[in-house]
Symmetry: C2
Subunit: 338 residues, 2 copies
């Protein structure tokens, strides 16, 4: 990671706003290219989660004003296409190519700002650091974990298994709890993550992986398997294990960026297991009186617990390394003052 001065972003379309970034963070999905497993062009701007203050608005922005405190989602939402109308803004037909990057910066441009940004209905100066941290998770990981639980159709009283103990997996545990799961089995072998998983509602912790993990979950579920499985990793091992522990008629909600093609979908067919999931949408989960932002402001949930380290922009390399080396569950990057 390198820090450079780049041109100040500008309003390019009438629906744009410029956001002054207060907090950004590092996503587990960034570790794929940080580790060299995935590709990323040298010199490209990074980061896709932020919290900030509206600095400037375009001529066709109607619901936002300068000074508004906003969450900047990793998705953009035109609000008008069939995908956005169906609640899948992550598949917006009008998304700009390569548009969702450059959040780890002092300023950033957001297009379709009226529909894309999540306005926080609170005075940020009155919010605690914990609440600010929790609001930052709504930009991606909390909504992604919530999407996993939604796609896995977690039901009140049901059993959920969560693969992945990074930020998304832990938010998946919290989401399964929010959606009423009675039993939540978290797959984790790290003490710090196990603790957060328990705080978020996990009733059982399984440290094993692969076939041993499958055996352990099947034991815990009396040989039946789980109603709902949240796959929040994306590796072949994790995905195959996730598929194996769904009960007949069960649901897999997968949100881990897939790094496997080796999935036996015929096996899913014979067991009537549903494979669902993909990139989450933020605004449908974040907004509204029962939305995630309201739950955070009410103190019902505290997903910000996943931030266990805080860095400034000059130490962004350290922020990535801390996650890469599992010294941090998720790294915050504090950029501007409120």
């Amino acid at each position: 990671m390198e820090v450079h001065e780049v041109p100040m972003p500008e309003i390019r379309k009438p629906g744009d706003v410029i956001v002054r970034v207060i907090k950004a963070c590092v996503c587990g999905s960034d570790l794929w290219w940080f580790r060299g497993i995935g590709q990323r062009q040298h010199g490209s701007l990074t980061g896709h989660e932020a919290l900030g203050v509206v600095e400037r608005i375009g001529d066709d922005v109607h619901t936002l004003q300068e000074g508004d405190f906003v969450i900047v989602p990793f998705t953009h939402c035109c609000g008008e296409c069939a995908a956005c109308k169906a609640g899948f803004e992550s598949n917006c037909f009008n998304a700009e190519p390569g548009g969702n990057a450059g959040y780890q910066a002092e300023y950033m441009r957001v297009y379709s700002a009226d529909t894309s940004l999540v306005k926080v209905p609170a005075d940020p100066h009155e919010l605690s650091d914990e609440t600010i941290a929790s609001l930052l998770t709504v930009a991606d990981v909390m909504c992604t974990g919530y999407h996993a639980a939604t796609c896995a159709r977690v039901q009140p009283g049901g059993t959920a298994v969560v693969f992945g103990d990074g930020g998304v997996g832990l938010c998946g545990v919290l989401s399964a709890k929010l959606q009423g799961a009675e039993r939540i089995i978290a797959m984790s072998r790290y003490e710090d993550r196990q603790q957060v998983a328990r705080a978020f509602g996990a009733t059982d912790i399984v440290p094993e992986r692969g076939d041993e993990a499958v055996s352990r979950v099947m034991e815990l579920t009396d040989g039946i398997g789980a109603d709902s499985v949240l796959e929040c990793v994306g590796t072949e091992q994790s995905t195959l294990s996730a598929l194996a522990v769904a009960r007949p008629g069960g649901f897999i909600g997968r949100v881990g960026v897939p790094h496997t093609t080796n999935i036996d979908v015929n096996n899913l067919f014979w067991r009537n297991v549903t494979l669902s999931g993909g990139p989450a949408s933020v605004t449908p989960y974040a907004n509204g009186k029962n939305g995630l932002v309201a739950k955070i402001l009410n103190g019902d949930i505290n997903p910000g617990m996943i931030f266990t380290a805080d860095f400034d922009l000059d130490h962004v390399q350290d922020a990535y390394e801390a996650m890469d080396e599992r010294r941090a569950i998720k790294s915050m990057i504090s950029i501007g003052a409120l």
Copy 2:
């Protein structure tokens, strides 16, 4: 196909009944082995759909009596395991290996009869031939088509595309209509099947296949794709086409026995498309005051239209050939008198 005298089936467990078969039929899934593409042991009993009269009951049968008019589903339901309780009797943990065969016969044994059989609440002597034919579809194809629509989460006002114009596909069209789809696109190139599809509620017919079919459906849906896709074939071409026409966030309900492993599930992920389906369950869809049997007895639906040929047991080879050569949409086999 050969017709042989075999030993009269007997009560083996206290929950068994012996059914005297009135009507059986040939399933599209049987054509896989009839054509030599799938394997089947020589001398094995065939057929998995029947309508009949209870001839004899075991000591632990409580809801059925001799003389009851029953649909014999292709599935068995113990009613007690986690799969049956979740509504997935096709995945019953207590199913007997190889239990679902031998329905094309004068008599057959049914285990777990109380929970497995669908009792028809009507005097069969007062039912028309059309109604009898419609009730026979409940043994498999109508429930399988309904399962496809359910798994594809057909919504009132939505758009559904149905791949397959055999008995299951046509029942899928009817089910999409029942579940409120406003637009139903049936993929069919055969005049007789197109007519039934239209009678069942299809609003558009697409005779193309493969890439041309995909282009045509995308045109018809303004480049967006369909909310719900019912895959009722199972071949690679049909499955890949079905996956390609789902809109972002759409649902595939697949019930065609899969004959492909070449499915790019990562593509599904990026489009947030859900892949659901498998062998249908009969009793959850058949029973109840809003169930399929009630709808048939009320005259609301007439899925029996898919039977376009009728044979006796001595001509069972002809029944298979008629379907194999597409002279019949679905062949009925009339076996016993009421």
